[in-house]
Point group: C2
């Protein structure tokens, strides 16, 4: 049996040119590619390469399949959109390793970073993450509401810029509304709020609004939500639009 | 006068293969490249391309120079290590635009994301950013200590994983020690703590320790500090080392 390996790879936000050279090379070198179907579909079919596309919400099962393939000697790429370490497959693989077949611990497992959605969204807007920020996922059914509420409140009170991944939950559609209720209790009504949909992919749409005017029901599975700090501001562009950024120094521009 | 433009580009953590294809193409297409000298030094010299290397801590001056070059008709690349939107040049450029020559607002300014240091460090370790996290810069002399203390305390109490950029300050060498004093007052002594130096560059060194044993004086200008949540854990590898990850679900593995 030859020594298999797993490369956990970030494909970036969508287009090929937002992948790193390393991610591209590693995916091409794999015998097996494992991932959520829409991410697999982004990749060109290569002769001799096997593609194992799976449904959403089966991360652990997908991780175990990849580990078994590697244990059998295969070179396996596990692909995620964005960065694999931010609310994505890397944690699922290590969770599977911790709980599963002890032989999995002998495998070579390498994580290849990518451009996470928040970075792609921030780049499109200007520089809203130019100062301290907090990043939360709202996707997980296993995260108790008390913990979400505690973190949202703490980050809002400490005036972090906030990025929310996976704001739309099928099983908890009210969750994003509850989060916005908390935010409105702490942050100013004029706080810049952005719903960024499918950024850098077909169908990209960016809604820039304020906390007071925000309608959280526009969030879907491909939305990232950004909520500014008290310092996050608009700069008018010559073309009638605006850039959004958070100054590097706190209080300097007040 | 032809219409100049500015591309604000993230070069990633160091090696060329951790750049995106887009970043590489945009830098090659520029007539002028503006940036902090060590980032400029990473790039191959191209015939006909002018390089404007500057010292650290002159971000605003550097941004104004780039804007003036673009206003004169040049295609200008402003380069940052990592991602330009995370404690880097993008915010400086928009700050300069907001305060400066109104004609700068008519320029085409585009931000090209890159792999930020925290993502490169996380990939090396496993998946420590697999759950909610907070990101703070300690570099800025203009950020009052009260605000730093408030944010550090809030993020620690709400059990975020925490990433600290620019932990070593020449003018405030005691700052990182004060931050650790706060962390130790809130988080458990066994909390996983990592000092990651020059990750993916020559001289890379990663010190994994606990909050109780951490010596913050090892942090230098190329260090990123990660402090885990109560759930961040080690998984023993077959080779005697370990991976570090934060489970996707809060409380599930307790």
């Amino acid at each position: 049996m030859s020594a298999g390996r797993i490369d956990i790879v970030g494909l970036g936000p969508g287009p090929h040119d937002l992948m790193t050279f390393a991610a591209d090379a590693v995916v091409r070198a794999a015998r097996d590619v494992v991932g959520y179907a829409p991410y697999i579909d982004r990749l060109p079919a290569l002769p001799g390469q096997m593609r194992h596309a799976s449904d959403n919400r089966v991360e652990l099962e997908r991780a175990r399949r990849a580990l078994d393939l590697a244990l059998g000697g295969a070179r396996v790429a596990v692909v995620s959109g964005g960065d694999p370490g931010v609310f994505a497959m890397a944690a699922a693989v290590f969770e599977a390793v911790e709980q599963g077949d002890p032989r999995w611990r002998t495998l070579d497992i390498e994580v290849h970073p990518g451009v996470s959605a928040m970075l792609a969204v921030a780049a499109r807007l200007g520089a809203p993450l130019g100062h301290d920020f907090a990043v939360l996922s709202l996707s997980d059914n296993l995260k108790p509401w008390d913990m979400i509420a505690r973190r949202v409140t703490a980050a809002a009170e400490a005036d972090f810029v906030m990025a929310f991944y996976n704001p739309a939950s099928k099983t908890r559609p009210h969750l994003i509304h509850d989060v916005f209720k908390l935010l409105r209790g702490v942050k100013a009504p004029e706080t810049i709020t952005v719903f960024a949909h499918a950024v850098s992919r077909p169908g990209e749409r960016i809604d820039v609004t304020t906390l007071a005017d925000a309608d959280p029901s526009v969030a879907n599975m491909s939305t990232l939500v950004l909520v500014g700090s008290s310092e996050t501001r608009r700069v008018a562009r010559g073309n009638g639009g605006c850039w959004i950024y958070s100054p590097r120094s706190y209080g300097a521009l007040r």
